[in-house]
């Protein structure tokens, strides 16, 4: 007979208010196999944990049931606690009498009864618990960073500086990401390029960093310490080794296209580098739009003109498979397309633009070489209206969430407008001003007070063209009256949204996503850079809208996690994995079919002389994640999940079924 100890937590009044903890603890003491039962104000506190440790010693307890909050919160705490007292950590069961009981029920009698049932179930399961142990698994000390924006670059640099190899994969032809498109950064008004470009160069020249641009992750298998990743390096059509970056090819290329980098405001060629400071500074041919590829090899100007014979039309996509110990997703965001706001005329009036377009307009390397002019007539604008929350905080057209950075860049743009065009006037329509960051509030105040930006609290109902002017009709809710502004330009602060392929990557990496496809962290407060799949981390705006300092901070956090992981000699496997009873397995391979991780192999049993007898399934403990799908599939119960074996779950059912 096992000797189970039951520890009922009051959680202050959180549990005790609705559950009669004293009575429940007393009743729990009478459950079969229970040798000791008690209650305490805060089990998770140090005195609480000491109480458990002492009881283990004093009452020779071999299994522990803690009835308190959700195991998702404190299971690790109590596992550590009982293992410090000499028990195997898996001899713990937790009865969730807070989240699942005291917090959701009012009637004390009913809640107490339920609490006792939950404890009885946990006791019954604990009786069947077995000591579980980890196994050592190897660790590849090389990291993969997906996304070459500022976050990805920061992660790569930090890991590389710690002495570990990193592969940085970027989908576009150059690293740099969104930040490379910006002119200045708030609130310091540093030149974005001036602070980013050196980092890009550092990354490119770092001996521990391998950059793969124009490349995408195709397949991910394996598990923490042992990921196997296939990367598709798209055919660049330019030999990276031969190219000197002279730029003759794209000067001479006859095919012109709108530039993605300039948000369609400028042009690029079919062979191009996205921006002058691109890293690597090697052009790529956009095969879809290249005349050579369209006309079956007639054009070929770039190849002819290239002084170093670097242009090679025959290059093909290349698949590279490598092993990584950890993966950091830093895939960023995309700006939301404000077309659904038909009342604001985006797409209809050329001078209604997005903030990112505005950013490109006064960027020195932008389509106007830094001259702020209207797209329609290339005249400098006088009155510019900035409208906040386009697609943010708006269930109807966009997303209910706040994109976090718009208030700040609106202020930045209003300020810069005044600097570029001295007689200009900025109007900012806003819902609330969210300026909670170091120096942010001061920055907004400066824009209003020193630069005369007019802030109007309210929404814009309509924008329409009237001759050369754009008429902006809105409401100033503070003044309580409608306003109408004759504007030369309207700038929409479009929301940040998840990358269109975020969901695909999430599936590949085993990251769960929220309803907007932002990647979900393992814990919103305590594990903000981890995800639920071990060995995979998050950096930057792929998780949720972030500004640069936040993205960079999180990047360093993710890098620290990776470095921490790599600092270990090897890894310990999860003890709660599946195991096969070879005596009864008939090798029907149903377990193999359903395993999401290809963790099940077939092995041949042999007699003492080594002759094959029959084949059975076997589990690769490194690959097994412990989902137990195989267990439910197995007809003869020959595969079992440690910690969640059939007899453990059945004991819970029975404990409840026969509860008195």
């Amino acid at each position: 007979m096992a000797r189970v100890g039951v520890f009922v937590c009051w959680c202050g009044s959180n549990i005790a208010k609705t559950v009669d903890v004293v009575k429940v603890a007393e009743a729990a003491g009478k459950l079969p196999s229970v040798a000791y039962s008690t209650d305490y104000k805060y089990m998770c506190s140090e005195p609480g944990q000491n109480l458990i440790k002492q009881a283990i010693e004093e009452h020779k307890l071999d299994r522990i049931v803690v009835a308190s909050c959700s195991p998702r919160l404190h299971e690790p705490t109590f596992r550590r606690c009982i293992s410090e007292a000499g028990l195997n950590p898996f001899m713990l069961e937790m009865a969730n009498i807070r989240e699942h009981c005291s917090w959701v029920h009012d009637d004390k009698e009913v809640a107490s009864e339920k609490a006792l049932d939950l404890i009885a179930m946990s006791v019954a399961k604990a009786v069947k618990n077995e000591a579980l142990f980890s196994q050592e698994i190897p660790l590849t000390k090389k990291a993969l960073v997906i996304g070459g924006g500022v976050a990805g670059i920061q992660v790569a640099l930090d890991i590389a500086d710690a002495g570990y190899k990193v592969t940085l994969v970027e989908k576009t032809p150059s690293i740099g990401g969104r930040m490379a498109q910006y002119d200045k950064t708030f609130p310091t008004l540093d030149c974005a390029a001036c602070i980013l470009t050196p980092k890009m160069v550092d990354a490119a020249s770092h001996p521990n960093i391998e950059i793969m641009t124009y490349a995408e992750v195709e397949k991910v298998s394996g598990f923490v310490g042992n990921f196997e990743v296939t990367i598709r390096k798209k055919a660049r059509s330019v030999d990276m080794k031969k190219c000197t970056g002279c730029g003759v090819c794209y000067e001479k290329c006859p095919k012109k296209l709108p530039s993605e980098f300039d948000c369609g405001l400028g042009q690029r060629k079919a062979i191009y580098v996205p921006f002058p400071q691109a890293v690597p500074n090697v052009p790529v041919i956009d095969r879809e739009n290249c005349r050579y590829f369209a006309d079956g090899g007639k054009c070929g100007v770039c190849a002819k003109i290239c002084p170093s014979q670097a242009v090679d039309y025959t290059l093909e996509d290349e698949m590279i498979t490598d092993k990584y110990g950890a993966i950091v997703a830093a895939t960023g965001f995309q700006p939301w397309d404000p077309t659904p706001y038909t009342n604001l005329g985006y797409g209809r009036y050329p001078d209604v633009i997005t903030s990112l377009q505005f950013e490109r307009l006064f960027n020195a390397s932008g389509p106007t070489e830094g001259k702020l002019v209207r797209p329609s007539d290339h005249k400098p604008p006088k009155n510019v209206v900035f409208i906040s929350c386009i697609g943010s905080r708006d269930d109807e057209h966009g997303y209910p969430y706040c994109s976090k950075v718009c208030c700040m860049y609106n202020a930045k743009h209003a300020l810069l407008l005044k600097e570029k065009v001295h007689d200009a006037q900025a109007y900012v329509f806003y819902m609330d001003i969210r300026a909670n960051g170091k120096g942010y509030e001061e920055f907004v105040r400066r824009t209003i007070e020193k630069y005369g930006a007019i802030y109007l609290r309210g929404r814009v109902s309509r924008v329409f063209q009237d001759g050369e002017k754009l008429i902006v009709r809105g409401v100033d809710t503070l003044a309580g009256k409608p306003v109408e502004i004759e504007a030369d330009m309207v700038v929409l602060a479009a929301a940040m949204e998840a990358q269109p392929d975020a969901k695909d990557l999430a599936r590949m990496l085993g990251i769960s996503t929220d309803e907007y496809n932002w990647f979900s962290e393992a814990h919103p407060k305590l594990k903000p850079v981890e995800v639920l799949t071990a060995g995979i981390y998050l950096a930057g705006a792929c998780q949720y809208p972030k500004d640069i300092p936040d993205a960079v901070a999180q990047a360093s956090g993710a890098a620290a996690k990776v470095v921490g992981l790599f600092a270990k000699e090897s890894l310990q496997s999860e003890p709660t994995v599946a195991e096969v009873n070879e005596d009864t397995c008939v090798d029907c391979q149903l377990c193999k079919e359903v395993c999401p991780y290809t963790a099940i192999d077939t092995k041949t049993l042999t007699d003492r002389a080594g002759n094959p007898i029959r084949t059975v399934s076997c589990v690769n403990e490194g690959l097994c994640h412990g989902c137990g799908t195989c267990v439910a599939a197995c007809r003869s119960s020959s595969i079992q999940l440690r910690g969640f074996k059939d007899n453990q779950i059945l004991s819970e059912i029975d404990a409840l079924a026969f509860a008195e």
Binding site: P32, S33, V34
Partner: protein
Amino acid sequence: MEAKVIAKSDIGAWMKGLADKCDVIAPVKDGDVSAFKKIEDFGTLSIDLPTPTVKGLREQFTPETETLFEYKLTGQQAELTSDTAAQKDRLIFGVRACDAAALKYTDAVNANCEPKDALYFAKRKQTTLVGVCCTTPAWSCFCTEIGDFLANPIMMDLYLTDIGDKYYAEALTPKGETLIGASQFQAATDADKQAAESAKQKVIAALPSPIDHAEKGKDFDWDDPMFTKLAEKCLACGACTFLCPTCHCFDIQECAQGSKGSRYRCWDTCQFEKFTLMGHGHNPRPSKNERTRQRVFHKFKYSPERYGILGCVGCGRCITACPVNIDIQRVVHKLEADK
């Protein structure tokens, strides 16, 4: 002992009269099969006599599942209870001669050594058996090969033989004599006696002649190659043994229900691999070879050696039930020929 007659039309009334004193059990149709059931409604009594019951009397004395005792656990303590509340007396009507004869064997088994099986004998003691001579034996019947109990019934209290519109009723025990004391029974004439005798002889004539299987069983060949052949086709189910009126093997199992539970026994069979499989993996009867041999040898060799009684009454149930047509009569004949 005394013999009387009872009109077939009076059977219902007679049994109804008995029902006051005891439970009356008789074979009735239960879906596709015939089974012994407690008769509740004597008004619509429809006793199924022509078809043999799918199971013999085994379940009447050793139920398929029988609680041995119950326990309750509190903390580290245990408390046992065993309910021996007296059952009502029973009368089983329509017992076949073979099934009654099987009780001689199961009595011997349950008294095999001290302590005797009290659970079994308590039920035996409380049961009165009224047999009916088979007039329509099944195709698989071979009781006459085993013994003469069809003509000279044993282990029952009263034996009825169908003689047209009435039964000839022979009391075999004092209990039987009391039974025919009931008002529905009339004195039997010599003609009735003759009719009964000729009815019995007519059935016996259609059945096989006696063979001294007990004697022949002594020389069975342990290594007879036939067992390999049988094992090949045997599916290792328990249909044969579970329907057998002499098979008595059982398992003892636990029924845990939280802090309470019970120990029970349930029918088990030597045809299952796990029957003799030990915890550490050794199995003295590891394959169907040994297990098919065990069934036949146990009935025709070991039982005569141990109890002096054959472990088969020739009821033929195992033959009809076998999904692959293993016919124990054929098997035994072959063994006897092979020796």
